[in-house]
């Protein structure tokens, strides 16, 4: 039971990192991305390959994952964010599709569908973190760190500029803000953070394959953000907690697996529609004036 709970908490922490980092784009900058699962995958593969092929440890692997994630995002962001509007949705969708194809078909590197087994557990100063409850602390630490980084970014002059760009890009330009540069920077930060979640996942499960990083996963991460509440920093964390709890709760009902899996998708879909209709600001609701 503790192992089960620990696993649940680790996954909540990993998805919190994904949702927090995606919300830098969706909630705070008004840029909708459908590539977050691809970024997650890039982080997982970069970190796993660094460990398996180069013998790089968890910490180095995570740094590589963040750098590769940021680079992949920059490649898409630099051409598409120069143009105002919704091009990034399409471009990010393209990145998602291309990366999944790479994970599946560059078999020399990724081993295709069969995936990469035997990814080592992290090692902290000689202490191998291989118990689920130990991993709760590791993943929890990174979730907290991600939260702190996002808070620093959004609760600052930089965050003010993000919001200004989100609400009126033309006005932001007129007021001397380099809108294109700021958008590219925030896309890279979001991806660097998202990629670290991939690294955590790869070294936790010790096995990765492309199915964890498909388009439906991108949509799932966006759902966490929207249901939790994209206007508040902790909204995505609540979203991750609630949406990961739903399938666990379903396990306690005596439903056969064949029914439970599609049922989960139906519940996610229904919840998304319901929230859009009844509470578009998400569970946590709208941020009001911050007295300062």
């Amino acid at each position: 039971m503790t192992a089960y709970l620990a696993h649940f908490l680790v996954m909540v922490a990993i998805y919190s990192i994904l949702a927090l980092s995606l919300n830098l784009l969706i909630g705070f900058s008004g840029i909708f991305s459908l590539a977050h699962a691809a970024i997650y995958g890039i982080g997982a593969y970069a970190s796993a390959l660094a460990a398996l092929k180069l013998g790089v440890g968890f910490w180095g692997g995570m740094a590589i994952a963040a750098a590769v994630g940021a680079l992949a995002s920059a490649l898409v962001a630099i051409p598409s964010l120069r143009v105002a509007g919704d091009y990034y949705v399409v471009a990010s969708f393209g990145l998602q599709v291309v990366m999944l194809a790479v994970f599946m078909n560059w078999t020399d590197l990724t081993n295709g569908h069969a995936g990469l087994p035997g990814i080592p557990r992290p090692n902290l100063l000689g202490w191998s973190i291989d118990q689920p409850f130990e991993y709760v602390f590791l993943a929890g630490f990174f979730a907290l760190l991600t939260w702190a980084i996002c808070r620093r970014l959004t609760d600052s002059a930089f965050g003010r500029v993000l919001q200004a760009i989100r609400d009126d890009e033309i006005a932001a330009q007129a007021m001397g803000k380099n809108v294109v540069l700021v958008k590219i920077v925030v896309a890279c930060i979001s991806s660097a953070l998202g990629a670290t979640a991939g690294s955590l996942y790869a070294h936790y499960i010790t096995y990765i394959n492309p199915s964890s990083f498909a388009l439906h996963e991108s949509i799932f991460i966006a759902t966490l953000v929207i249901l939790g509440g994209s206007e508040r920093l902790t909204g995505p964390v609540i979203g991750a907690f609630v949406l990961l709890a739903i399938p666990e709760a379903l396990k306690f009902l005596a439903i056969p697996d064949a029914v439970a899996a599609p049922m989960r998708q139906i519940i996610y879909g229904a919840l998304l529609v319901l929230f859009m209709l009844v509470r578009p600001e998400g569970i946590l609701g709208r941020a009001r004036a911050r007295p300062r």
Binding site: L153, S156, A157, F158, Q163, A164, D167
Partner: protein, 259 residues
């Protein structure tokens, strides 16, 4: 350049600026100068190209010909944020306030906060960021005092009455410290009482060392507001000079009110 007081060197000079949209020459061989420390009014009938001139100066539109010199620098070809950095900043006819942000935040976005806007220094130089933010806050409050909005600092911009929103649109560009302010119709849509509140504030901008170029639709207000007037018609400068000369010119008033 036609006659007019050209004693001092101009702070900004447009020379033969042209821009067409399809077959329409919105701005055509447009040349005029803006004298430092004065309010220059840009007037002309609807479609004369006044807002297009603003868009050309501030980099929101590219020109086909001409040059716009500002303190020895060419503005044409620069993106909007670089024009602002050099010291020319504008308002919009439709204000474009950040409605879901507070009045204070709108003005803070005009204040210089390079450390707080840089991701690296946010994490590496927290002390400098904090000091800069504190300076920006007191500067923003000072600016809000000047515009009579200090009591509204914590309210959302969208909750202000229209005349106050107009003041806020000026306050936030005032906060940038840019020496040249371009005001797109600062008096449009205001009733008499609000005009009495806003006009003195516009007049006093020059006392704070600003140079103002403003678009004005109302011939009667231009003499009260502007020291110099540039009359634009079909994208060309028809006349420039003191407001009395322009408003009394029967040919110009004919163009303005006729047709």
């Amino acid at each position: 350049m036609t006659a007019g007081a050209t004693a001092a060197a101009p702070i900004m000079a447009l020379q033969g600026v042209a821009r067409s949209f399809g077959g329409i020459r919105a701005v055509d061989d447009c040349s005029f100068e803006v004298q430092p420390g004065l309010i220059t009014g840009l007037i002309g009938p609807n479609g004369a190209g006044k807002t297009t001139v603003f868009n050309l100066i501030t980099g929101f539109l590219s020109a086909e010909h001409g040059s716009i010199q500002f303190q020895g620098r060419e503005l044409l070809g620069l993106p909007p944020h670089e024009v602002e950095r050099l010291g020319v900043v504008r308002t919009f006819q439709h204000l474009r306030l950040w409605g879901k942000m507070t009045v204070l935040e709108n003005v803070l976005l005009g204040c210089r906060t390079p450390a707080g806007e840089s991701v690296l220094s946010l994490f590496l130089r927290p002390g400098a960021v904090r000091a800069e933010e504190a300076r920006a806050h007191s500067r923003a409050m000072e600016v809000l005092e000047i515009f009579g909005l200090a009591a509204r600092a914590r309210e959302f911009a969208e909750d202000l009455a229209y005349p106050e929103q107009k003041l806020l649109s000026m306050a936030r560009i005032f906060a940038t410290d840019a020496p040249v302010l371009l005001l797109d119709e600062p008096t449009s849509g205001l009733d008499g009482e609000s005009l009495q509140r806003i006009m003195p504030i516009v007049r006093r901008l020059v006392d704070h060392g600003k140079t103002v170029l403003l678009i004005e639709h109302n011939m009667d207000l231009i003499s009260e507001l502007a020291d110099q007037v540039v009359f634009l018609h079909q994208g060309r400068v028809l006349a420039a000079g003191g407001p009395a000369k322009i408003t009394r010119d029967p040919a110009l008033t004919e163009i303005y009110f006729g047709a």
